[in-house]
Subunit: 387 residues, 2 copies
């Protein structure tokens, strides 16, 4: 079945010290409801994607907490799948509608990360990995992805500057997105000369620690109101699990879960990969965008970095990728990321993406990962904007 | 639609220091699959109910983690709604089937609590409440329920011993349940003379800190295999949110969310309250069982304690309540509790409850709460055992 996206709303992404997690969730939710030309009372349920609230402030039970703030007494659930929590909440919301139980649901992805020190938040993030194997041995997410990057670069005879191209491109996109955490460009030289985090990944290869929220109103039916938005539908939705620990994977230069998820999503949508006009993919590190694009099938293995350098994945290229700025430059409030990816696609498919507008965009794809590729969620969206 | 319960499995509840959270989840899951006469490969998805894993060990992302342990690469999601996480996972699993996406799902409720000190776990549990209002002001869950107990006893002119009757009854039931954490009886005198925790609640009014896991296999269709189990179906399922903070409630001597949830569940099931033969309710404290029973409508306000003293809620009474021993005496591994309640009902409806078997049980109800009544989940089960 098709699920209609009636409204979208997100906060600025960044270090938002003056706002609490619930403030951010409320702000995004109210914007989404307004964008949908609806009232809060029209909603049947709330699905909250969040990973770290318990670790950061001790607050769990976010479903009821956010429902209370919105003055709603409707079913409210928190969904957690590490950095894929946002897209997982969308996936569950779709099932809630498809089951016949709900007509309209609010999806909120939210994360407040900057209240912890960098060391604390890195430790908390390791909860997304096999904590008792990888975390206790001192690995961080940067070092997990550095292992993948080392293996990938060696296998395909590539250099660190090939990865850096992703950062340059995504920062360029972010410079066109006023809600991005880092709305400015960086040069290849700046990326390559930035401090090393986990060899070969430098700080400008890494997505930042971010506060932010993103919300969607999903519906069984299109709303037909004066001034209503250009219709955008979700036509494919899939979620696949792989092993949590990296050591249990056969090949760390590809994402098995992503490969399976894209097959399932394309089948559900009844389209071919070639029909996809643009994509938001999970670039928590530059290497992650490269491997994601190849695992999705957009590029042959070992070729996505060169394609990036040629400008193919720029918003004016043949396959625009991460026009929002991606996790890298738009920011990565982990529970919000998967929802923000879908918001960026909706903006593009409606023709509301401003200076970064992709021309003739009709079908978009979002891919959100949890852990080092342990959970992959893929959504395919279709717009009806023929402008 | 009816959802079939094909298999059930649970671990012993208690202080299980030699087993990890994943060990417990696996044990319960394997038992449930075996009980269903199925193979793990027959499953389409996993829904994990868990509240505290991040706080206790730092491990989040339990969906993929548990799927890896079971050697399954299927969609796996963690659902969190404080102490209602278990029933919330059931509620989501039902939607997954009803949506047409899955045919058979595994629900696992799991919690490992005894790896923290009592003070630490009490702090972590406050994540279920309005942490920045109630937690920071020094309230614990015992003191939140003590506020309700004070108000309730005063309103209805009752005494502490009226509450204590619940503990005596539930310990009696636990003495008949080999998997209970406290499989022994207590006397009214023992309860009343036990150390005060939060006036008027004494330690024997409180549910314990517990490790444990419980699992269900839910299915769209009944399995017809040789030796298959007596069919039990879920015919009603509802979830309602109320305010997280106690101060925002109109009346703390009743549970608004429970009142609404039972109405919705009865409507979905197409039955009347009088048709329910037995119930598992959320007795995190003795007062919680009393208020829950009245909010569900089984007893008029102010009368459930006296009915308990008369034996009406014993397994051989007119409305058996918490034949498992309840949270009070079977134990309360928070994410597992809502699933364990359903397992107890299945045992009773199949006629497999041993020494605590309720006679002629056909319809059972489970009510699971999150926070101080902020999330209420009600399930209604129907058995086909006419023995």
């Amino acid at each position: 079945m098709e699920i209609k996206i009636l409204g979208i709303g997100m906060t600025k992404f960044g270090e938002l010290w003056s706002k609490s997690l619930v403030d951010l969730a409320e702000e995004a939710a109210v914007k989404a409801i307004k964008d949908a030309h609806l009232q809060l009372a029209s909603l049947d349920a709330i699905f909250v994607g969040n990973m770290l609230s318990g670790a950061v402030t001790g607050q769990e039970h976010l479903g009821a907490l956010i429902a209370e703030r919105l003055n709603l007494k409707i079913p409210a659930m928190r969904i957690e799948g590490a950095c894929a929590s946002g897209a997982m909440a969308v996936y569950q919301g779709i099932q809630g509608i498809a089951s016949g139980r709900f007509n309209r649901v609010l999806i909120i992805g939210v994360e407040k990360m900057t209240d912890l020190s960098s060391a604390e938040v890195n430790k908390a993030l390791m909860g997304a990995s096999a904590e008792d194997e990888e975390g206790v041995n001192g690995l961080t997410f940067a070092s997990l992805y550095a292992l993948m990057a080392k293996a990938y670069l060696e296998k395909y005879g590539l250099k660190e500057k090939d990865l850096a191209e992703v950062a340059v491109k995504n920062h360029y996109h972010a410079s066109l997105n006023p809600l991005a955490q880092f709305p400015f460009k960086v040069t290849l030289k700046q990326v390559l000369e930035s401090p090393m985090v986990a060899d070969p990944l430098k700080i400008l290869d890494c997505s930042p620690i971010t506060d932010g929220a993103a919300a969607l109103v999903l519906s069984r039916r299109q709303l037909t109101v004066d001034g209503g938005q250009i219709p955008v539908s979700i036509i494919g939705s899939s979620l696949v699990s792989d092993t949590l620990s990296l050591s249990a994977r056969k090949d760390i230069t590809e994402q098995w879960a992503t490969k399976k998820a894209i097959q399932e999503a394309l089948q559900m949508a009844g389209i071919k990969l070639e029909e996809i006009d643009l994509a938001e993919v999970h670039d928590c590190f530059t290497i992650a965008e490269i491997i994601s694009l190849e695992s999705l099938g957009f590029f042959k293995k070992g070729t996505a970095a060169k394609a990036t350098a040629k400008g193919e994945t720029r918003f004016d290229g043949s396959l625009p990728v991460n026009t929002s700025g991606g996790l890298k430059a738009c920011g990565h409030p982990v529970g919000a990321t998967g929802v923000k990816q879908i918001i960026e696609l909706v903006l593009q498919l409606r023709g509301q993406a401003g200076k970064r507008q992709v021309k003739k965009a009709k079908i978009g794809l979002a891919q959100n990962l949890g852990g080092s590729g342990s959970t992959a969620v893929v959504h395919i969206l279709k717009g009806e904007n023929h402008a």
